[in-house]
Symmetry: C2
Subunit: 417 residues, 2 copies
C-alpha cells in the first residue's frame, strides 16, 4: 500500500507554504494546512532555580496564572490542557493540573517524552487546536528536581538501570566532545565560549537560575565532571514551571490584536534508547535532531534556516551539545560548529543568536518545564518582549529539545503572524 | 474575555452535525469539524491474560503487526505513533515503541492518563490526523502486570501513598456499591448478573483472559474482596497490548474500500484525585464519566444515546461500576441501572448490549492496553467482524474508560462511515 500513501503524501509536501485559506476550499483538509494557524497568545514562566519553599503545585499555579493573565483570558475559558511532568508525579496523569489549579471536568492529558516532554505537550496541544476540536487550550510543564534527594538526575528504578547501566548524562556527552576534539580539532576553549556566551545572556534574564557571567578561564578551571566537561560545561538541576495559551489566530486577533505569535511547525523524531550500540554511531551528530529539524523546516516551508530564521534556542544540556546542535539544525556544515562560537555568529549581537535567554546553562533543566519555557521565550522574542536580551529584528526562530540518551528531539518554529 | 470565547464557541456547537465538506469552504476550520473524519482502518489485539513467556515488547510487536496487516499497510507507511503505558516503562517515553518495533526517526508520543491511558492515546492521535499533520498514524497501548511482583495493582512509590493512603481500588468501588444498595435497593444478585453477562460474552471471545461462564450462585459464593465485592465482581490483573491504525477517510477508502470505521468523537474529563474529600461526593455517580459522555455526545451530535447508538463498551473494573456507568452514560435514569441488567437490556441479544466482548471482567485490565482494545472492539463490531459475539445490526457504539480514583474518564464514539 506504499504507493497509495506516497500519492497522498506528495501534494501535502507543499501545503504549509500555501497562503490564504482559499487554497483549501472544497478540498479535504491537507497535511499541515492548519498547523501554522495555531497562535500563542500568553506565556507564563516561573523563576527557575532553587524553590525549597515551593512544591511543584505552587510553581504550576504561578506559571499558569501568569500565562492566562498574559493572554487576557480566564482559566474558565480554557477548554483543554496538556500538562507534562517527567520525574515528579509520574503516574498522576491529568490530576497534576486538575487538583493543582482546581480545574475540574475538562480534558487534561499528560504527555511524557524524556527531556522533550514540554515541547511534545505543546505539539499535541497544537494538533488539537489545529484539528478544530478546541478553541483555547493550555500546554504546561513542571518539574521539581532540587529536592529529589540527589545531585544530577534522580534514577528511575528499573528503567535506567536497564537502559543505561553505566552511562550518566555527562558521560554520554563527554564521549561526543572527545570525538569532536579528535575529528575536528575542537578544544575545551571552544566549549568554554559556549558557557561564556550563554551565561552572559542569562545574567540579564530575570528568571534565570544562574545570573552571573563567567570567563573562559573560570570555565576551564572548574572541577571536572566527565572529561572534557567541567562543571560549567553542564546544565544544572533546577525547579521550574512554564505554560503557554494556544488558540486559533482568528480568536487571537480578537483577544490580543496583533500581539500573538504563530507556531509554524513542530517536528519530532525518536531514535533508539541505545545509540552507542549502533555501528553507525559517530557521536558527531544526533540523528533525532537532524530528523526533527528536517520535519519542522519542511512543515514551515523553510529551505535555508540560517537565512530564513533569525535566531534559535537549542538544548544546551552540555556545551558540546550546543555546538553539535548548530550543525544538526543546519546552521553550518559538520565540523564548523566551533567556528560559529569563535566568530561570534551565535552571540546576542551576532548574525544568528543562539540561546538569547541564556539557555539551559543559565536556567537549569527542570525537564518538562524546559520545552515549554523555550517556546515561551521564542514567542516573547518575536513579539519584541523578551524578558532578558532582545534579539534585534526577531521575526522567526526555532526552539529545540534533545532528550533521553539523545533518542528524541523536537523542533518548534515560531514567528510573528 | 469570556464573551469573546463564548462567541467563538456557539457556532461550533453544531459543527459535528454538519455533513459534507462544502459546509466548511471559505471558512476557518471550526471546532470538531474534522473530528468525525478520522478513520480506523486496522486493529490488532493480543490475547489478554498470562504471558509469562513474553515481555511487553513481544506483546506490542504482536498487536502492532496485526493492526498494520489488518489495515493493509506497512510499518514504513506510518508517519507518527502514540504509544501508552502506565506501569511498565514509566519514563521510557517514545522508546517503548521505537526500540521495540525498530521504528526509528519518526515522532512517537507517550500519553499517560491512569486507566484511560489507551483511549487518551487514541484521542491525541486522532487530533493529529484531524489537524492534517499526518495521514497515517498508530495509536497503541501495552501493559504487563502479571509479573509485577504483586497481586492487584502494584504501588507507585511516592504517588499513591500520598494520593490514596488507605484506599485500594476494590475498597473505593465497594463504597459505591454499599451506597447504591442503601439508596436504591440494589443487591449483590444485581451485581452478580453483570459478571454472569460479561463472562457469558467473554467465554465466546478468543482473546479474552477468562473464557468460562459463571452463575449467579458462583459469583455470590466467591471469596469476598471488599464487601460487597467478591472475586467475580472484580476485573483481573492481566497482560496485553492493542493497536489501531488511523487515517483520513479519503485515504481509508483507497486502501480498504468501505471496510473502515469512523471515530465520531472522543470526550474526556478529569476530576479530582481525592473525590472522597468532596462534600458533594455521593458515590452514586462518577462525574468524570458524566462530563466525558456529554462532551462526546455533543461532538457527535447525539441527543439520545439509547436510541441513536446501538451498543456500548464500558469500563467494568467492578460489577458495580458497570451499573453506575449505565446511568452516567445516559442509558437510563439514576437508580435504574440495575433494572437494565435484570431485564436483559444490556445482554448480547438485548435492546442495548453492553460489553459484547466480555468487558474487563473477561479480559482483565492491562491498563494502557484496555482503551485501545475497546476502540478496536467497537470498530470490529460496527464492521460486522466481531471476534467474539457480534451485536446484531451494530452501526454505532461507544467505548468508555474510567481511571485513577475515578478522576478521569474518556468516551469514544465509533460508527460505520
Amino acid at each position: 500500500m506504499l504507493n497509495v500513501m506516497q500519492r497522498w503524501r506528495e501534494p501535502s509536501d507543499c501545503c504549509l507554504r500555501r497562503t490564504g485559506s482559499d487554497t483549501t476550499a472544497g478540498r479535504p483538509a491537507c497535511r499541515g494546512d492548519i498547523m501554522r494557524e495555531v497562535a500563542v497568545i500568553g506565556c507564563g514562566v516561573t523563576k527557575f532555580g532553587h524553590h525549597w519553599e515551593k512544591d511543584h503545585e505552587d510553581l504550576l499555579v504561578e506559571a499558569t496564572y501568569e500565562a492566562i493573565a498574559d493572554a487576557n483570558v480566564e482559566l474558565k475559558d480554557v477548554e483543554a490542557v496538556w500538562c507534562g511532568t517527567f520525574y515528579p508525579s509520574t503516574g498522576i496523569s491529568g490530576n497534576v493540573f486538575s487538583d493543582t489549579l482546581k480545574f475540574f471536568g475538562k480534558p487534561i492529558s499528560r504527555v511524557e517524552n524524556y527531556c522533550a516532554t514540554g515541547m511534545d505537550n505543546i505539539r499535541n496541544a497544537a494538533f488539537a487546536v489545529a484539528s478544530g476540536a478546541y478553541d483555547l487550550v493550555i500546554a504546561a510543564g513542571v518539574e521539581k528536581l532540587m529536592d529529589a534527594g540527589s545531585r544530577g538526575l534522580p534514577p528511575i528504578e528499573g528503567i535506567f538501570s536497564v537502559a543505561m547501566p553505566y552511562v550518566s548524562a555527562p558521560a554520554m556527552f563527554a564521549m561526543a566532545a572527545n570525538r569532536a576534539f579528535k575529528e575536528w580539532g575542537w578544544t575545551r576553549e571552544d566549549l568554554a565560549m559556549v558557557a561564556v556566551k550563554n551565561h552572559y545572556n542569562g545574567a540579564r534574564h530575570p528568571k534565570a537560575h544562574f545570573r552571573s557571567e563567567v570567563t573562559v578561564e573560570k570555565v576551564l578551571k572548574a572541577p571536572m565532571v566527565a572529561y572534557p566537561l567541567g562543571v560549567y560545561d553542564c546544565s544544572a538541576v533546577s525547579d521550574g514551571a512554564a505554560a503557554v495559551v494556544l488558540t486559533r489566530p482568528e480568536i487571537a486577533k480578537e483577544i490580543v490584536g496583533d500581539d500573538y505569535a504563530v507556531i509554524k511547525a513542530v517536528g519530532m523524531a525518536v531514535e533508539t534508547m541505545h545509540p552507542w550500540h549502533r555501528p553507525s554511531e559517530s557521536f558527531l551528530s544526533f540523528p533525532a535532531t537532524v530528523k526533527a529539524a528536517k520535519m519542522a523546516y519542511k512543515m514551515a516551508g523553510i529551505e535555508n534556516p540560517r537565512k530564513e530564521l533569525d535566531f534559535g534556542i537549542v538544548h544546551d544540556c552540555f556545551t558540546i551539545t550546543e555546538l553539535i546542535n548548530y550543525q544538526d539544525m543546519q546552521l553550518c556544515k559538520p565540523g564548523e560548529g566551533a567556528e560559529l562560537i569563535r566568530n561570534g555568529v551565535t552571540a546576542i549581537d551576532g548574525d544568528f543568536p543562539i540561546n538569547p535567554d541564556g539557555g539551559l546553562k543559565s536556567f537549569g533543566h527542570p525537564i518538562a518545564a524546559s520545552g515549554v519555557r523555550m517556546v515561551a521565550e521564542l514567542t516573547k522574542q518575536v513579539l519584541g518582549k523578551a524578558e532578558g536580551l532582545q534579539v534585534k529584528d526577531a521575526e522567526a526562530g526555532f526552539a529545540h529539545n534533545l532528550g533521553g540518551p539523545y533518542s528524541v528531539a523536537t523542533v518548534a518554529i515560531v514567528s510573528r503572524p
